[in-house]
Symmetry: C2
Subunit: 222 residues, 2 copies
């Protein structure tokens, strides 16, 4: 299966650090699928607001959700422009100069207008995608949403048509003079996330073991 | 030393999940000081944009920096409203119901207008704060910025006057009916970041050992 490359619009064209732009759609999917939380930006009373929230991807749709009472959901559901960033910090780049200190990272930024999903079938599909990104296996294991819970949840779909990906990896990029002079140590200190051991809830009844989908996740890198 | 509590303005008052709001200024400092990257939101051509960037805190000032050519810096330096979020994802909360699935996290959100620092002394101070947050010890070890590098860098100061902190930790919050019925496993899978072993640059001359400030960092939790 092949995908169209990312087709930059003016606002999804990377202006700074162009050499770090990645234009394959598969790279966008990889960055999004490796994450659990995004940062959602919107404009409220003329000023920008950014908040963390969970998300899930299905094809070229990014799903978001939240309480029907949340400003972020109300504004995004109204068809206002939003912007979503998913960032993975992979390490700190120690250069020979302070100026070239940097980070290794993978970042996807999506621009667009979300549409609200209002029918129960569509909401359930989106919530399955969201749940499965956050907690694979939970949709099959946990109690599904009631109609009342569905009604209390705003579900949004954001098309991935307008997106950019920027990746930095590898060595520091120092000036030749600094390299030749050997003014300082240079290298990368990687940063990695790990799952800890599952902590059962204090009110969990005895005899409910940690299920396989949870233990399987813990064995994987996040 | 005591600090004033966070004094919420309308936009820094947490409307959803009020029980997760933390109003001690020390909590704001703790969340900011535990992070390396923030998400900076601004408005460009009427639409929100959010990008990851590094930062550093000194007292009640958050410093940001970037290339003089970056849209984000140009817009923020113009005195437009910005919003900065620093988020730590501490774990995934597996509830008995899909509806109550959640994440444990610590998040600080700062609203305000940044001011550009233009004098060399002020820029060097801010860059020292930024560098020390990203790579403690590098300001003392690596080559300091030249006048040309300083001139190519926009440095911004954002006051921490208007900020909010939201923290979720601990067990799932399930409905009593679901707890009583024991419908599913419930608990938390913690997520933690770890430093990997430092990777010297491929062009690093032999004989330049990994310095103490780098090995010391790797022994700490990020």
């Amino acid at each position: 299966m092949t995908h169209s490359p990312l087709s930059p619009t003016p606002r999804s064209t990377i202006a700074r650090g162009k050499h770090r732009a990645v234009t394959e759609r598969a790279a966008l999917y990889a960055v999004l699928d490796a994450g659990l939380m995004c940062h959602l930006a919107f404009v409220h009373n003329g000023a920008p607001v950014v908040l963390p929230t969970s998300y899930g991807r299905d094809g070229d749709t990014l799903y978001l959700h939240g309480s029907t009472g949340a400003n972020s959901m109300r504004i995004a559901a109204s068809g206002a422009d939003v912007c979503v960033a998913v960032t993975h910090l992979d390490g700190v780049v120690y250069a020979r100069s302070v100026f070239h200190h940097s980070v290794n990272y993978r970042c996807a930024v999506v621009h667009g207008r979300a549409s609200e999903i209002t029918d129960d079938e569509g909401k359930l599909h989106a919530l399955r995608v969201l749940t499965t990104n956050l907690a694979p296996g939970s949709w099959e294991h946990a109690r599904r949403p009631t109609r009342k819970e569905l009604a209390a949840t705003t579900v949004l779909a954001l098309d991935l048509a307008e997106a950019s990906v920027k990746i930095r990896d590898g060595d520091p990029s120092d000036d030749e003079d600094d390299i030749a002079a050997g003014v300082a140590w240079a290298g990368v200190v990687p940063l990695r996330a790990h799952w800890g051991d599952p902590v059962p809830g204090q009110d969990l009844a005895e005899g409910i073991d940690i299920p396989g989908h949870v233990t399987a996740r813990v064995r994987e890198a996040p």
